[in-house]
């Protein structure tokens, strides 16, 4: 199995043990996708982690866009904005950087 900064990740690059997550790991994962994490990225990552802590699952796309819109301005409350930050999808790429499990299903 591969690892990132010593933390084990699965074949899709998601942390095997969610407790391993650190900010440095997020930065390193993003680097691997040619992304420099900006403050805007961190706003989303932090929201994802907070939501996960409360509900043990990633938020629905609509819940995420609404929350981001409420907190950081309406112009940011849409999936186009989130895709501009996370081109592989706020759900999948965002969750990976945030140390959350990969959302599964017909999505």
């Amino acid at each position: 199995m591969a690892d990132i900064l010593g933390a084990e990740v699965d074949e899709e690059g998601f942390l095997v043990d969610l407790k391993d997550w650190t900010k440095e790991i997020a930065v390193e994962m993003a680097k691997g996708d040619d992304i420099d994490l900006s403050e805007e990225h961190w706003d989303v990552i932090n929201f994802l982690r907070d939501y996960f802590e409360e509900y043990q699952i990633a938020p629905a796309v609509r819940v995420l866009t609404k929350a981001i819109g409420k907190q950081f301005g309406k112009e940011k409350g849409n999936s186009k904005y989130l895709y501009s930050l996370f081109p592989y999808g706020p759900g999948k790429q965002g969750c990976r950087f945030a140390g959350l499990p990969k959302p599964t299903g017909c999505i």
């Binding site: 699952i57 796309v61 959302p103 999505i107």
Partner: protein, 531 residues
């Protein structure tokens, strides 16, 4: 990991490609591990005596499902199916010809279960099940979406999907499972949905949705959860709660229920319409998933069970729920709970009923009013989802599964055109992501397999300026939003049928910016509802 590949060019006409042997050879999708195998009762890894286990399992399937044996025996290699598979047309790998894919399984069947194959294997194309063959099974039976387009053209009516299901069942039995399907099934049978969405998160998501609709329309459309005594239990794919564009379809269902004034509910225990048990060919697991629905229907004391926009959910519901769960007629008398549920459900309604049938019926009876001009920025075409098209019906009339969705769409928008006839209805091309293939590690085959559908779509884009693609399947919607941009389409052009309904429906209470004339119109609707 993913290799580089070229996105297929869209030809003016679909042509049979020149074959490229081995172009889709590979290791197949990510394999399941013990953590996901064990809860389903499958070995955690490839078992030591796997050949013996596999052959025994084949024998077991052969005796349990006579259809499988007939399909394995009946093929005469006429070749009618060869150019009917979207994965072959898009990938040009000859092992993606339906007959060749089936023969991976059939040749082993011949070797072990037919007289000629046992004694003269070479004469009848019988082959041994060795490591290379098992690897080929794993790879190529995960390049079949069980869409059954090839079956439509088979003069013997061989159902290729059943062969794919059987092969996957044997693979699971020897401990070589697919991560995507089996991980999801574990969540479905423990948490109640494919996402693993627990009750508090679901409740919160639905509340959020109610808030959003009320903010937008001024109308308190409700999304009830676990409401005992409601008339209708809605079983919808969990993607409807979670993903785009699906959620706009869910908004549409809610508006229709609201407008009809019926009491309805969803269940946090059975919050999934999809049933991947079918994809992996396991009747037992399919039943396990479906039984959650029976329990929810009994506990909530509903009199109707309805299914949201999900292709294979409707197949499982329409074709199998009656004996699996007692929704519909035919539960065994010895099956106490199914018999109880059959008595509980209201026989004046179809059980189960599709949300499209429900909305269609309301439209027919004049219970809904629409402002079709709300969809005037759209020219719409409809993608028939494979499982709905080739395994079910709607409305109890011949071809109802093609007619009803189109009639609903035409009732809510002014501009509708169909794609080329040989690519729709019973001949519809799969979206490319069905049957357990909707996973990133299969992106190459998903993109290549989407080519035939994309070609037909490109055609109506050119001739009729089509800018909206409607589907009534969660997998189709997710698959299209990923593959459309690869073929230079707008990923946001894929929508739910009930999103169009949602946009055009005239709701009881006037919206804040409504003109007076519309208020009069809506007032009359209100009186009608009150009657």
């Amino acid at each position: 990991m993913a290799k580089d590949f070229e996105v297929p060019k869209l030809p003016t006409y679909l042509e049979i490609p020149e074959i490229n042997e081995g172009v889709m050879a590979g290791d197949g999708p990510f394999k399941s591990v013990e953590e996901f195998q064990k809860p389903l009762g499958f070995p955690g890894e490839k078992v030591e005596n796997w050949q013996e286990v596999a052959i025994n399992k084949m024998g077991d399937l052969k005796s349990k499902y006579r259809s499988v044996q007939v399909f394995l025996d009946a093929c005469v290699k006429c070749g009618a199916c060869t150019d009917k598979c979207h994965y072959f047309l898009g990938s040009s790998d000859p092992k993606n010809m339906p007959v060749a894919r089936q023969d991976l399984f059939r040749s082993v069947y011949r070797r072990h279960f037919t007289f000629a194959g046992k004694y003269f294997p070479k004469l009848v194309g019988a082959k041994e099940l060795d490591d290379a063959m098992l690897d080929d099974w794993y790879n190529y039976f995960h390049q079949c979406s069980q869409c059954r387009r090839c079956s439509v053209f088979c003069p013997y009516g061989i159902d290729t999907a059943e062969i794919s299901m059987a092969a996957r069942e044997v693979l699971d039995a020897v401990g070589v499972g697919q991560k995507y399907c089996n991980q999801i099934l574990g969540k479905a049978i423990t948490v109640g949905n494919n996402l693993g969405l627990p009750e508090p998160a679901l409740r919160d998501t639905l509340l959020d949705l109610e808030e959003e609709i009320e903010e937008e329309t001024g109308i308190a459309v409700k999304y009830p959860l676990d409401q005992k005594g409601a008339e209708i239990l809605l079983i919808t794919p969990s993607a409807d709660f979670f993903a785009e564009p699906h959620i706009d379809g869910l908004i549409g269902y809610g508006k229709v229920f609201h407008q009809d004034g019926v009491s309805w509910t969803m269940s946090s225990y059975a919050s999934e319409g999809a049933n991947f048990g079918m994809f992996i060919g396991s009747y037992d697991i399919m039943r396990k998933a479906a039984l959650r629905i029976r329990k929810a229907a009994l506990d909530l004391e509903v009199s109707r069970v309805m299914v949201g926009e999900c292709g294979h959910a409707w197949r499982v519901a329409y074709s199998f729920w009656n004996t699996l769960t007692g929704v519909g007629a035919g539960a065994s008398a010895s099956d106490e709970f199914s018999a109880k549920l059959q008595k509980q459900l209201d026989s004046r309604y179809p059980q189960p009923q599709h949300i499209i049938e429900y909305t269609h019926d309301l439209i027919q009876r004049g219970r809904l009013e629409f402002d079709k001009s709300a969809n005037d920025d759209r020219t719409v075409t409809f993608h028939d989802s494979c499982n709905v098209a080739r395994a079910t019906n709607m409305g109890g009339i011949p071809n109802g599964q093609f007619i009803l969705p189109r009639e609903v769409i035409k009732a809510v928008c002014n501009n509708y055109v169909d794609m080329e006839r040989s690519t729709i209805m019973e001949s519809t091309f799969c979206c490319g992501g069905g049957g357990g293939l909707l996973t990133d590690d299969l992106m190459e085959i998903r993109i290549k397999g989407a080519m035939p559908r994309m070609q037909a779509l490109k055609e109506v884009e050119k001739t009729d300026a089509v800018n909206t693609l409607v589907a009534i399947c969660a997998i189709c919607k997710s698959q299209f939003s990923k593959v459309l941009p690869k073929f230079d389409f707008d990923p946001y052009m894929i929508v739910s049928a009930h999103q169009l309904v949602s946009e055009a429906i005239i709701m009881d209470k006037p919206q804040t910016d409504d003109s007076p004339s519309e208020e009069v119109e809506e007032a009359s609707v209100e009186t009608e509802t009150a009657e």
